[in-house]
Amino acid sequence: MPARTVVPALFLLGLPVALGAPWALASEPPDAGPDDALLSALGCGGCHEGLPAPDAARAAAPALGPGAPPLSGDFVFEYLGDPVSRRPEVAPSRMPDFQLSEGERVALARFLGEGNPGPALSAAVGRNPGSDAGVGRALFGALGCAGCHTHADAPEPPGTAPSLAGAADRLRPRWVRGWLDEPGPVRPAHLGGARMPDFRLTEAELDVVTSALTGADGRGGEADPAVPGWMSDGVPEVRAARAERLLETRYACRGCHVVAGRGGAVGPPLDGVAERLLPDFVARMIADPAAARPGSAMPRQPMPPREAEILAAYLLSLDGPWRGPSSETPGRVIPSLGGRAVATTSAADGSVLYATWCAACHGPGGGGDGWNADALTVPPTVHSDPAVLSPRPDDVLYDGIHGGGWVLGRSPLMPAFGEFLTPEQIDALVAQLRTLCECEAPAWSRDGGGG
């Protein structure tokens, strides 16, 4: 993306931008630094935890929906397609570019607009008949529109944006800068429609935001914190071979992540991960995800420190450049696995737990057809098949969830959840499996686990 220059202060959707100090908002509290001011103006905290509250963005963003000044559907439809040129008098707009598809614009326009659609929207509706107001409402929530705009009928924000608390301890400034400049998905695209929008930041703004997040502006070279066994120019091939063997025989990394070109899409790809993440964070994440990143959706896989070091060094050696997952996942609605979603699964509700932690691979109905299944080298177990589950005692199901597929002599791609879910939650999942298969454990196993 070409560098932009700061333009004279104008108002778009009520957001003031000042020449030379575009983030200097009169309404900011006096002790707030300039970095926080820009973040507040951009509204980052509307979606991401760990950042300043998006008060400025909220103050500037117009209210929408019932009770707010009406907007025509055509205006919304066309504005969302190109906020800058549609309102050149207020450019550069702080309204970010969500790179919406036409269908998404139609849906949002039908949700937000009033009155009869004009010719542009009408034609687009004809091409996108499924993009109704209900879809628009869901998108409004998923995109985090409510982070800045008020809307009386908006759904609760889904909490899909990752927390940026402690981002300086894990993200490479250089990568953050580049990504802010050209945002793309980090995790699987379209977690219900969510995505990081393009804020069209200037070079100066990139300096500020990158520094605010990571403590450095991302322009210069960066030292590599030490990670045992890892060297910035790679990892010895013999160690790589050892790590590959661990991945093939023992650990579940490829169940969720692409590693060396293969693997699932539940978590971010790891090829080129050393470009995106700080090396010691990668090591800490493998050793203890919950400690490295509180609220992480990644279950800790028990392993000896030595093997964690081997894996960290190997992952950091994987060739880049780091690329996010494909931005399109046609026909799939991928459930959220992160941030606030983790908190919602603390209860032992088997169906919720299953939808959150199992369905990606095993399918929402246990058919083995989750959206991640195609990325796996071993087909996920079909939990809805009584012929598969009825020979297995409940304790075996529990052990498999607790210790992963490996402890059952099955695919190691199935992670161990024993250090992530509570015993009650695992029990609830076992019960959910029995619901899905509509079957019982073998009779001999139902009496206290005889054998």
């Binding site: 010895p236 025989t249 206290g448 005889g450």
Partner: protein, 754 residues
Amino acid sequence: MRRLAGAGLAVVLVLAGCGDGGGSADQGGGPVALAAFPSAPSPPPPAASPDDFVGASACADCHADQYAAWSRSTHGRAGGAPSPDLLRAPFDGTPIVFADGVVIPERRGAETRFVVRQNGHDELVYTVDGVVGGGHMIGGGTQGFVTRMADGTVRFLPFDWSVTGAVWFCNTGSRLDEGWDPVTPEMALADCGDWPPVRPLGVVDRFGNCQGCHGSRIVVDDVPGEGYATTWTTLAVDCESCHGPGADHVASADAGTLASELGLSPLTGLGKDASLETCFACHALKDVVREGYLPGAPLAAYYALKFPMLGDEPYRADLRVRTFAYQGTHLGSQCYLDGPMDCVSCHEPHGQGYQDTNKRPLDSPFDDGQCLSCHASKARDVSAHTFHAPESEGSRCVSCHMPYLQHPEVGDGVPFARSDHTIPVPRPALDVEAGGASACGLCHADLSTTELQAAADAWWGELRPQREAIRGLRSGDAAAAALLHPGVVDPLAQFQGLTRFLSALPPDAPLDAAARERLEALAADPDLDVRALALATLHWSAGDDPTVRRLLVQALEADARGVLRDRQVLALGFLGDRYRDAGDWTRGLAGYQKALQLRPGDPALLSAAGQLYTRAGDLLNAVAAHRRSVEADGGRPMAWVNLGVALGASGDAAGARAAYERAVALNPHEAIAWNNLGNLALRAEDYAGAVDAYGRAVAADPGLAQAHFNLGRALIFLERYAEALPHARRAVEFDPDHEGSRQMLRDLEGVVGG
């Protein structure tokens, strides 16, 4: 080495004009050409030589933590030179009292030795050149001792020490057959199977032994003209015993190129079977399929782990140890079959401590963490599973699932219990019925099996059903449906079923369609040993059927390493031996013939067949087979001895003498060759020559009763009665049922005085 039988068929084949291993079958319309067996692939070059090993000290600098842990471990302290630090037995001069003498274990300066004072014989001194075992094992630790012999072998002395039982004992296996007995004043020295020392350290096929695991790189080389040369790196089990040869690794480290050339195969992240292979090189029964194994080589190319079941029953039908075994029964555990369990799931390999499957250290072999890291469900409410108080012994996983069981072949005299690595579900009645102890009964000795079973029924109700293959074995049914189980994953039980089926299968009996179908399915089993024995069974029973022949040929064509062929030869050669030893010459010959079809001209097979011919009285073919054997490999002294026997029986004394002389030229300590040379001299009334030859025989093998008897006879001919007397005593000592020896002893005692 067990069973490398061979066949002399060569001669029959030549006479029959079908020596190419092919053949034909009459299928109604006339002979149908059988597919020819493909040639055997060239043997793989040795993976390493002893020079490729560097010893543990070379590892210490770079791998200090692992080295320190190993130094304190049972492997690191498994044996060595007799030092005060290592010796657990009391070499304090306290006599070990036998009925016919005393043995004094003592230290004289730096020398550790046994002084044997046996009634009627000169004093003998055996220097202890090595200590085997540190007495570390919880279920009963022992320590044995070896001494270097004149022929270059290093042999076990018969006096072992039980650290746990604090008693001297000996293995009576080949004499009284009472297992391991503590020495008592009622026991004669010759009740000990190793008196005089006969078991060498290291693999020496002449003695049918396998003690290569009581140390590191124990190598016994044939030294033509001298006998043997025995070397080892250490009598401990060192780093390279598991990691393989380290010379390349050290060189790479020195050159700074470890990043690209590790120089050895890392053991991290091995799958369960590859991991087990590392440990099963020692911790499992095995048959030799190829000599010359050194650590780091592919185990399957050298050893077949299930073949000891062929012709023997080391395991019960429920796969637990029936006689004496190591931890190979782990292959029969549900944890292996249905899970990922290998040795390092519980055993920390450097220090031999304990760990869970995630390699978290554990306190002891009784720690529940070994099991609960997989079976987390059982940790939620322990008593709901165990029906015992949570902190009681009855709630320890291993108390019920890995009880320490005395190895039956050892007997009850010396503690030698090992934890049951089949990791079974306790079934009190079935366990006792199968011939073993019930885990429940080990604690609750006051309760009858019936009472224990009633408690189990009340607590657990129906137990997990036993596996299909085990149920078949337990049934006692000899039908294919009970013994042959294709499609299951239970290799130890499948193999045992195959051995039973094969044992009851004469080669000329038709194979019914159901059995054949099962065998053909088993011939594609993932397990190499199972596959090989199924193929050998098909070869044995229907090898001339064109369809079966094609299957056999296809299997061998896919056998690039030759490991399948090696095993089939082993099985067919075993059948040859078995029927030969039973006096069924036709079937014995059939076994060798079929083995030779796979390995034409094999000298060991030819030699075995020659022995069959000799015993059958077909001396023409016997001589021919033995000649072909020594032409194929003239470096085996016993092959020359066997040729000499056949020639001697044919009346060719000169030829026999020449053959024996070739044998003793190769190994001047070949006792049987000397004995037979003595026989030739005796027949020629060359009594002095006979005395000389027999004397060499008993010097080489003091336990050879026949040679003592013969020497006594020769000395009597020379009227050297006093000299003959001790040999008469030895003859009776080692073969008390030999009436001739007993008569000789009575006569000599009458002449010389007792």
